[in-house]
């Protein structure tokens, strides 16, 4: 049977029995793909249409003669989207680096050092990784306002690092533990300190893990609305992209010319990352499976 399949595949595949047997599968996958890409495509097309066209005709009537960048200019000029973009960078990059740096130290201790309580702490960590962040919001909000940290990015970096840690440590530990034991043993025999082993051996060999964690955490923080909304509030000077857009939605309701462009500005960087580093992103998801 297997042999027969191969022969079929080598002969003209378009007219083979296999092709016709698989035809429903092809059609179903094609249909699903179209359905999945259609919503985003509709918005992208609309973001390049003039205001009166968006409001009065369907996006499927788009013709290249009406192509315009006016919507993008409008949101950048009038709605501080440029500032929100910079705010998002200012929020996301430090938060991501802080999480990964702290997590890799802890993960290294969990994988290559022996100490009492190691198992217990790690078990708690696994349990914490699915605690809903809503548990932390109330008390931390009070704590931050007592410390006069609300509306400040420091508060959000720390918060994101805290809630991202269980997953990040879990992921990094999985990668570190998979490294060959002999590598570390021979390094220690040669007189290397844990510091040297960490920086010369563990980190360089875990670049894929670091990359996948970085992309994961970056997207998580970049796309987050709830935490930014609660700790930073909506003041334009500190509003990040999701917050700015949710305000646009509230303010303009159906002001599609602004919403479509704003949504794409917020999607640009994550989508770029997604398409260029998809492999690492998938790796991270597969290694972790559960993100809090």
């Amino acid at each position: 049977m297997i042999v027969q399949k191969k022969v079929n595949a080598q002969r003209s595949p378009w007219l083979s029995v296999v092709f016709f047997r698989n035809l429903p599968t092809y059609l179903l996958l094609l249909l699903t793909s179209v359905m999945w890409i259609l919503p985003t495509l509709a918005l992208l097309v609309s973001s390049f249409r003039p205001q009166d066209k968006i409001a009065n005709t369907g996006w499927w009537t788009f013709s290249f003669s009406e192509f315009t960048l006016a919507n993008y200019q409008a949101v950048f000029a009038a709605n501080n989207l440029g500032l929100a973009f910079v705010n998002s960078l200012y929020l996301t990059i430090p938060a991501t680096v802080l999480t990964i740096a702290v997590a890799s130290l802890a993960a290294y201790a969990f994988s290559w050092m022996r100490f009492s309580g190691s198992n217990l702490i790690f078990t708690v960590l696994v349990a914490l990784s699915i605690v809903p962040i809503q548990m932390s919001l109330g008390p931390i909000l009070k704590l931050m306002s007592a410390l006069h940290l609300t509306g400040r990015f420091e508060a959000v970096w720390i918060f994101h690092a805290g809630i991202g840690l269980p997953f990040a440590i879990f992921l990094m530990r999985n990668f570190f533990s998979a490294l060959p034991k002999e590598m570390f043993e021979s390094a220690y025999l040669d007189g290397a300190s844990p510091l040297v082993a960490f920086f010369r051996l563990a980190l360089p060999t875990s670049v894929p893990a670091l990359a996948s964690l970085a992309i994961f955490q970056f997207m998580w923080v970049w796309n987050d609305l709830l935490v930014a909304l609660i700790f930073l509030g909506g003041t334009p000077s500190v509003a990040v992209l999701p917050v700015a857009i949710s305000y646009l939605v509230g303010q303009y309701g159906d002001g599609w010319q602004l919403l479509t462009a704003a949504a794409f500005i917020s999607m640009a960087l994550p989508l770029l990352l997604f398409f260029t580093m998809q492999r690492y992103f998938v790796q991270g998801i597969l290694a972790g499976s559960v993100k809090g």
């Binding site: 918005l43 440029g82 500032l83 960590l125 605690v131 809903p132 932390s136 844990p194 796309n223």
Partner: protein, 327 residues
């Protein structure tokens, strides 16, 4: 603005530098200790930044929420008088909060059902064709889009115009143009609007299920499937009697993740309807209690209820972890 942009790249350098300094300092201090003690103290130096953050951001608030859930805490107060289980009674009797819990049940059933079953079906189909890669990418792409942008995308899909006006929303164009029935106010009409929101969640998370289930599928031994086919099993029999049982552990991981997502769902509801028109969910209620009503006691109670529901999954998560470790 420029200053912030520079800082966005400078502060990470400072963070890494600070941690390096801390680590070198710690190692230098350890080096002065007798060798026998070094091994016992070193792990704690490497762990303490993480432990400090975890205790402050996760463990302490967890305990704090438990305590506050039995208190009446409003306004700027950090603590208040104990009221016993009053908050819990309110949570389970107030029609609005009860409604949001019922909506979370809808989310659990339909969102989990469709994402997992759809993801599984697609994972099997994608494996059978040569060009599965692009399909996976397209379905997975919504994972990179924020909930807020997704909200905008789908509000546009659901956009509603009166019957005589030209429709600009894709779905209503299909409904009016193809089926010749009046346009539907998808996200405003109860009870269907909850399903309309769940469709958005399905759009976002089916790709996630697909990717994980597909990876699980590829790790299964192909010979078992071939053997069954040689023995004359139909494709459906192979799927239901061999693939699904073998894949059960992965399916359970994915289903668990989706149930937790359904319970925590906030952003989609917040952006699409702000919880109006009977679409409120628990996470959205917590936000409202915290921000609009400024009632920390009530918000904590809802958070504790959420945690209690999630607790069995936590236990299962830990069990699975230990089973994997001991293998």
């Amino acid at each position: 603005m420029l200053e912030k942009l520079v800082l966005a790249f400078l502060i990470p350098v400072l963070i890494v530098g600070g941690l390096l300094f801390y680590l070198y300092l710690g190692e230098a201090l350890i080096a002065r200790l007798p060798r026998s003690r070094q091994g016992a103290i070193r792990p704690w130096i490497w762990l303490s930044p993480a432990l400090l953050l975890l205790v402050v951001i996760m463990v302490w608030p967890l305990l704090q929420s438990f305590v506050a859930s039995f208190q009446h805490v409003t306004g700027d107060a950090v603590t208040g008088p104990f009221v016993g289980i009053q908050n819990y009674i309110t949570a389970f009797t107030d029609p609005q909060m009860l409604g949001s819990m019922v909506n979370n049940l809808y989310w659990i059933v339909f969102f989990t059902g469709v994402t997992v079953c759809g993801g599984l079906a697609l994972a099997v189909l994608v494996n059978r064709v040569k060009y599965g890669g692009p399909v996976k990418t397209i379905l997975f792409m919504p994972m990179a889009i924020s909930f807020v942008a997704t909200g905008v995308i789908w509000r546009f899909m659901y956009a509603y115009r009166p019957e005589d006006a030209p429709q600009i929303g894709t779905l209503n164009a299909v409904v009016t143009g193809l089926f010749h029935i009046p346009p539907v106010a998808w996200i405003f009409q109860q009870p269907g609007n909850n399903l309309a929101l769940i469709v958005v969640g399905v759009w976002m998370f089916t790709g996630f299920c697909l990717v994980i289930l597909n990876a699980g599928l590829r790790s299964l031994p192909e010979e078992v499937h071939e053997a069954a086919r040689v023995d004359g099993a139909t494709e459906w029999q192979v799927f239901s009697r061999i693939t699904v049982p073998l894949l059960a552990p992965t399916i359970s991981v994915v289903a668990t993740t989706m149930v937790i997502n359904a319970l925590k769902m906030f952003d989609i509801v917040y952006v699409m309807t702000a919880g109006n028109f009977g679409t409120d969910v628990i996470a959205n209620q917590i936000y409202k209690q915290l921000y609009s009503s400024r009632d920390l006691g009530m918000a904590s109670t809802l958070a504790v209820i959420l945690l209690v529901v999630i607790f069995p999954f936590m236990v299962q998560n830990v069990r699975r972890f230990h089973a994997q470790e001991n293998r």
